[in-house]
């Protein structure tokens, strides 16, 4: 019995022309606005994340669909996808990572500058997926620390966008001192990254 999916056939009316992000909490007055530096930097960073799509397999095609006009990732500020790790903030690992590819992922992660975030898109990047074999890395968190996991095989573009929104939450609320702190250093030590 088919559920009545008709919204794809009928055009949806436009509700508002432009949407703008909310202001952070703070004291406002005539010509000044006082808030925490953390909130402002977080606000600026989270709405202009530059992703590096590390697309290996099928999830890469779903990423291409997410970048397309239907599920537009550019509205979240990720218009400029770069392929150079030196210029990007978010490493989106999409697809199966084989053992042969593991050192390459680590190398790309090391080349990124702080602050950097990692998103594992797809079941294969999260945990090896359906490929429990001798040649597949069972999840990229064997080699690099991961911030957000997006499960799915492949995850729908809405799920990838949800993952990006979670990253935005993390970026917006991150403390400016986190990357120099003891806990972060210990995390990187556990992966063998100096």
């Amino acid at each position: 019995m088919a559920r009545p999916v008709s919204y794809n056939l009928i055009q949806k009316p436009l509700e508002a022309d432009i949407s703008i992000v909310d202001m952070p909490d703070g004291e406002q007055g005539e010509g000044f606005f006082a808030t925490k530096l953390n909130s402002v930097i977080g606000l600026a960073r989270k709405n202009s994340i530059w992703p590096l799509p590390f697309a290996t397999s099928c999830c890469g095609i779903e990423f291409m669909a997410t970048m397309g006009s239907h599920y537009d990732l550019a509205r979240f500020g990720s218009e400029r996808v770069g392929f150079s790790p030196r210029q990007c903030d978010l490493l989106m690992v999409m697809g199966t990572i084989a053992k042969k590819m593991g050192p390459v992922v680590k190398q790309v992660y090391l080349q990124m500058a702080e602050p950097r975030w990692v998103m594992a898109v797809g079941a294969c990047a999260c945990s090896g997926g359906i490929f429990d074999t001798y040649s597949v890395l069972q999840g990229i968190d064997q080699v690099i620390p991961v911030d957000v996991y997006v499960p799915g095989c492949p995850p729908r573009p809405e799920a990838i966008i949800d993952g990006v929104m979670r990253i935005q939450d993390l970026v917006g609320k991150e403390s400016l001192r986190r990357r120099n702190g003891e806990q972060y250093k210990a995390l990187l030590e556990s992966y063998g990254i100096q």
Partner: protein
Amino acid sequence: MLTNDIIKQRLTEKFAEQVSNFEEPYGMLTFEAPVELNLKVLNFLYDDEELKFRFMTDLTAVHFPNDKGRELAVVYHLHNLSDNIRIRFKVFTAIGKPDVYTATGLFSTANWMERETYDFYGINFVGHPNLKRILNVDEMDYFPMRKEFPLEDSTRIDKDDEMFGRGGTLGFGTETARDRQEVISENEKHDETGRPIV
């Protein structure tokens, strides 16, 4: 009109008893030849004006651990594009010394196909320009598609074999390499992780 019978007849005329085991599973003529003659047969099928098998569709291998002396089979699929006939040709070789002459001189497509077969089964293609591993990591020291090796990486710690229905004490009927020790002969002894003991 080229038919399977004509091909069989031409082959038996040229090679007498050396080509054997003619079968036609699902309409495709399949036959076997000794491993030393594989190039001669391929050349004959290529050059002959009536047979014209000038397109190599596939080259792969199969492992039969129970047929002693004939464990590894190399299977060639050839295609005659003008008459639209396909044919399958097998050679069998022993696992102790799996040497097969390379077909790269005749078909350039055999280059990577033979590398893949070497990578998975360890068949040494004599005369191949670049016989090294293609799909697996270069440091791998065993040939993974052979029947005695397990599918999973035995060093992984995050997946519980028992809950995944493999081995363990619940016994779902799927065996691991450990359980199949009895079919492995002396020259293929392996330790409990599946790696060969040298």
